[in-house]
Amino acid sequence: MSVALFAEQLLNGVQFGLMLFLMAAGLTLVFGVMGLINLAHGSLYMIGAFVCAAAAAAFGSFWLGLIAGLAAAAAAGALIELTVIRRLYDRDHLDQVLATFALILILSEGVRMIFGPFPLYLSVPDLLRGTVDLGITRYSLYRLALIGIGIAVAIGLWLLIAKTRLGIQIRAGESDREMIAALGVNIRWLYTVVFALGAALAGMAGALVGAIQSVQVGMGEPVLILAFVVIVIGGIGSIKGAMVGALLVGVIDTMGRFLLPRIFAAFLDPAQAMGVGAALASMLIYLLMALVLILRPRGLFPAHG
């Protein structure tokens, strides 16, 4: 096993983790501020990817596609918040799960009706094609850009929450809902904005990942469930926890798939080692989640109390 291959896999893990962070940040914000579990967050990821792919094909520009995908996801988020989600804030978690599960069915079939049953393909923009020499390894320029974008978004999100008026309102909303009403903040407006912000982040992740995977119905839910694992590990409602959890999950999952089959190959025959290694690697992050639950039932960075 070469150092170059190892470094490449590690970077892949970081890149995967940062994309998971984009998903998890929106989910955890929505839970922190509104106390809502949103299963349809994966659908917003899917919408971002589909609109980006379609717009990129129509305009011939990945960047216009990305903007379109982001805007479409934010708009879809605002729309479902206004029509459905805001009726759910006072409901119990079971109702929230069911209503947002219903939204998955509606949005998935809706996308299938509009874009057809076949996957779309989105290619990497010309500007970011090829690889770049990092000294120890050559690495995909596009994936490197994803790492950069992920970090930039994380910093931007931190600045938004720490420094702006909207951020103050969000933090107030997380600690005390009655207080922000007393401060004269328009809660309905705040909730719509927070939800649309989370949707935009999900749409962005979907569009960015769409260029290295195929864009298809059902692409959002596996990522959504991984984002849940991230949140459980990081602590619900905590942006910092989402970041740490996302990087842990991204790196451990990627490295597990890379290393475990090789480790088992040392004492099993190759075909068996591949099977056992792959099966165990697919369970690693859930075992990590179980471990966190045993040691820190409220996650690594519990946000409340």
Binding site: I37, L105, V229, L293, P297
Partner: protein, 326 residues
């Protein structure tokens, strides 16, 4: 009291309808509908399992497909070894006897529920939902990447497993077997709900602090209910595998977990016959709308959304009024 009597009438009508529909289908020589009714009975059985955790105990498990799928794989794997004659583990050969398979399906599903429940019940609310979903996803990916039993291609059961005195390859025999097991499970559910265990479980759902203050440990009672719930759903999984003569990771997919919750909600949470009504609605909807449009799930989503937002209580709630507990 009048409401309770009305619920019993609704239940009796549902039980009769589920028996009469396949009888008529048999009469007019439409075995497809017999198999459809069998599907309803088995899905309802899986729902009875979930209803125990979700309806009585208030544990919103979004991972019950794990037990359903495990039960299915137990049936598939045991039948596979019985068919090929290869030993399973050290000297143990497979079996094609349903009763023996069911025992293992229930025991192993219960064991899995014990582990997942013990971890998940350390938390509650939204955490619990996400964790049960995540653990089911773990089992899903495991079966997907474990090559020995078909991986993502699944595992066929060439000949249905056997039950003494019945020819399980005949649709009616398979139906009456599934119907019988469903009725037994419903009797068990009703007795459990009326007994001390049910009283403790429903009390914990409504007010865990009060239950603890009178000396009932919420964790132990909930875990016991969760294990029983997983066992019943696992049994249903084994029967479903025999009905379709096929198991695949799709049985464990998150959509299956969602479908099981939908069955409970459409029928009525915590109601005895809620899962029967819910499974019947879901299967009927799929057959009727699925014949009209390939996008039937879009309309299922709309209806589900409508039920959640405007008609809580499900079909049984609509027909029999609100639930009361003496």
């Amino acid at each position: 009291m009048a409401e309770m009597r009305r619920e019993w009438i609704v239940n009796a009508v549902l039980a009769m309808a589920l028996l009469i529909v396949p009888l008529v289908a048999l009469w007019i020589n439409e075995p497809f509908y017999v198999t459809l009714a069998t599907r309803v009975a088995i899905l309802a059985l899986a729902g009875v399992g979930l209803n125990l955790a979700l309806g009585l105990g208030g544990m919103v498990s979004f991972g019950h497909a794990a037990y359903f799928g495990l039960g299915g794989y137990v049936a598939g794997i045991m039948a596979h070894h019985a068919f090929t004659g290869l030993p399973m583990w050290i000297g143990v050969t497979g079996s094609n006897q349903m009763l023996w398979i069911w025992l293992w399906a229930a025991l192993l599903s219960g064991f899995l529920a014990l582990i997942i429940g013990a971890l998940s019940l350390r938390t509650s609310g939204i955490f619990f939902i996400m964790i049960t979903l995540a653990f089911a996803q773990m089992i899903f990916y495991f079966t997907l990447s474990w090559p020995a039993y078909g991986g993502e291609d699944g595992l066929p059961i060439f000949v249905r497993n056997q039950f003494p005195g019945l020819n399980t390859m005949r649709p009616w025999d398979m139906f009456i077997l599934s119907y019988g097991v469903l009725m037994l499970a419903l009797v068990f559910f009703a007795m459990l709900r009326a007994a001390r265990f049910g009283a403790a479980l429903m009390a914990i759902r409504q007010n865990p602090d009060r239950a603890a203050a009178v000396g009932i440990s919420p964790f132990g009672v909930k875990l016991a209910a969760f294990v029983l719930s997983g066992m019943i759903t696992g049994l249903a999984g084994a029967m479903m595998a025999d009905l379709t003569r096929f198991v695949s990771p799709a049985m464990i997919a998150w959509q299956m977990s969602g479908e099981l919750i939908v069955i409970i909600i459409l029928g009525g949470v915590g109601r005895l016959f809620g899962p029967v009504a819910g499974a019947a609605i879901l299967v009927a909807f799929e057959v009727i709308f699925g014949g009209i449009t390939e996008h039937w799930q879009f309309f299922l989503g709309l209806i589900l959304l409508g039920v959640v937002l405007f008609a809580r209580g499900g079909l049984i709630g609509l027909l029999a009024g609100r639930a009361r507990h003496g």
